[in-house]
Symmetry: C2
Subunit: 400 residues, 2 copies
């Protein structure tokens, strides 16, 4: 072979907070600025980044809160201020399934994230340095609580709906568990009541790959030298779990990259599937903070609805949403369809109204980001149903 | 969190050639000591490590050749010389499914491996140093050819059967493709005619993890400092693909490790599934050569039966085995059942006799190593059938 390995292209960090993303400072617990976390840690001066679309109604009954998956920030959809497409552009907007002509939609960047909300890369005001691994242990419940408190700071005490997919779906469940009286409807897409061992293993390995990167420096790396190679490889493993083998068979099969794209490094890129993973993982590794990745990833492992009532079903029974939309995807290997059935069945057993949809999208766990064709009508139908309820129950008698 | 990461326990290399493993020097191509590889490279003074059990019959018609998966050496089963259990102990031996009272069974360590056969960690006699990445590009066909030549050196020109599982199954196919007239029966377990993109991606990532380890040194690491941490993490990803989520759900679910086994490193082992992966991957990382891993892993990506005839089915039609046993496992995500069906159907289309078995083992791709209950009767039945044929066709009229 006799190829020497060339150093990898240096990845430049480009972590930019999108222009329409705003910050809200949380008023903490116990009348202080202290935000207490579920596993005992605490944070001061927590800020949550968010974007919003549409107008809050007079009686404040049309707010929809969206929690994100692991990767994106608050820029879920475009606006006049920021016309670039958001991560769920097809789903949110005027006349879209989550219709901003009708709803006041807020998307928050998760606590622990790196797109404006307080996270491990934020400056710890007590030390003047980034938290790094001094950031306290994070849970999905804490992310839900931070979102909840952020909405309160924005003057919203009750939600029409909480919506989330993937980690965001777990967060939506955590919201409904912790604030059962403060929402009317729940949307959980490709989510889970708890992580299965296979999923824990995949995420644990992603973290190990990042931790193996010598530049990670036990979590106390400098902003000018982040463990990008570890993040790149870890993200490729993430992508493997987010998509489905059938999709890749159809798209790439065994196609090889043309000579000009073939890596000259030994055991470098030779197949199109390798090139695809590299291209897509690079986009993430260039912008995402490694410690945020570790904290959010572990938070998903730790989440367990059974902690809210003794068993999963007892936990689900605490959710009081008037109606829940539960969506699962056949090709999802990370949050498999059985876990969506578990949520739907658990809610039904507790006497709650559930719309359950089992979609045969080919894009695996990531289908909600891609498969507009299958997802749009289901989400649109659900919100049309909930808005009829909204209109009949809350019509302002003095209007017109 | 404030846990500093302790350095990982230093892994000691213990690459020991088992005591019953013998070496055979290959007589090369063109009447020289040169062994020419499929992709153009060449090797001199190739040695192949093997073990054998049972006695070769007078008319040399009872030889069974076993090719291994990626990980094991030639020690497939115990013997007087080496009573330690082999990697397929339940399958091979006196009175066992591959019955050494009846068959002369030979298992070879793959060319490119690190348990005695010539591989990247062997000394290149031309330089006096280990090959490292100077080892030529390796294919499954080369591994089959080295096994074939080794058997010829042992005086065996015709095989009763070639047997292999996983990479060994690919190698058995490659043997049958390259030497169609030199075997009577073929056994392919959880194998493939070619790697799917999902499988290529998993293996590509394992290689990337090894290559990320700074100790890998572009493949020219020293024997006293091998990239064990990279191998450890890579092997965990391997294990993820070898086993099945259902099995782990049953065995571990969300059990946490007891405090004394909890890693004090940040984001260290907390769940039993993480501990299981670490324990099992360590056993491999301690003994397996990193470059052997890279070469054998890439060889599986490159294998494609379609190279032997234009299409997969045209390739399969070149296999002339009198009867083939094809076994697949329902929970195998690495070499999925569809790929086993493809082999069986392809052989049938070409008019070959096929016994196809679809086993519902819970142990995923690794089932053949573990699930004696399902595998034993199938393999035993097949070899009973082939030995009846053997006895009726080759009975020595002067015996007794």
């Amino acid at each position: 072979m006799q190829k020497s390995r060339k150093p990898d292209q240096v990845l430049q960090r480009k972590r930019i907070i999108p222009p329409a993303t705003k910050l809200v400072s949380l008023f903490g617990d116990y009348g202080s600025t202290e935000f207490v976390l579920r596993r005992g840690g605490h944070l001061r001066n927590v800020q949550i980044a968010y974007e919003s679309w549409g107008e809050l109604s007079l009686n404040q009954d049309n707010a929809v809160l969206i929690f994100t998956g692991l990767s994106p920030g608050a820029h879920a959809c475009s606006s006049v201020e920021d016309p670039t497409p958001g991560w769920w552009e097809y789903m949110i907007g005027p006349g879209k399934p989550i219709d901003t002509n009708r709803f006041f939609v807020v998307c928050v960047n998760s606590l622990g994230g790196c797109f404006g909300s307080t996270g491990p890369s934020s400056i710890n005001t007590e030390t003047g340095k980034p938290y790094g691994l001094d950031f306290p242990e994070l849970t999905i419940e804490d992310i839900a609580k931070a979102g909840h408190h952020a909405l309160h700071e924005l003057g919203i005490d009750h939600l029409h709906a909480v919506v989330g997919a993937s980690m965001g779906g777990m967060t939506a469940l955590a919201y409904a568990l912790q604030y059962p009286d403060e929402l009317d409807y729940l949307v959980s897409i490709s989510s889970a009541t708890r992580a299965l061992p296979f999923t824990i293993a995949i995420r644990s390995l992603q973290r190990e790959i990042v931790r193996n990167d010598p530049i990670w420096q036990s979590g106390f790396y400098k902003q000018e030298a982040e463990p990008v190679q570890g993040m790149l490889t870890a993200r490729k493993l993430g992508l493997l779990s987010y998509r489905a083998s059938e999709e890749w068979l159809q798209r790439f099969n065994r196609a090889k990259v043309p000579t000009e794209r073939k890596q000259e490094t030994a055991f470098g890129i030779e197949f199109e599937i390798e090139s695809y993973l590299d291209y897509n993982a690079r986009k993430f590794a260039e912008v995402f903070d490694a410690n945020s990745y570790l904290y959010l990833s572990r938070a998903m492992d730790l989440f367990d609805v059974a902690e809210h009532g003794g068993t999963v079903n007892a936990g689900l029974a605490r959710i009081l949403a008037k109606r829940s939309l539960i969506i699962g995807v056949e090709t999802d290997i990370l949050f498999p369809i059985e876990q969506q059935i578990e949520i739907a069945e658990g809610l039904k057993k507790a006497g709650r109204a559930v719309d359950f949809h089992y979609l045969n999208s080919i894009n695996g766990h990531d289908s909600f980001l891609i498969d507009k064709e299958h997802f749009s009508p289901v989400v649109e139908g659900f919100f049309q149903k909930t808005s009829i309820a909204l209109e009949s129950s809350s019509r302002d008698p003095y209007a017109n």
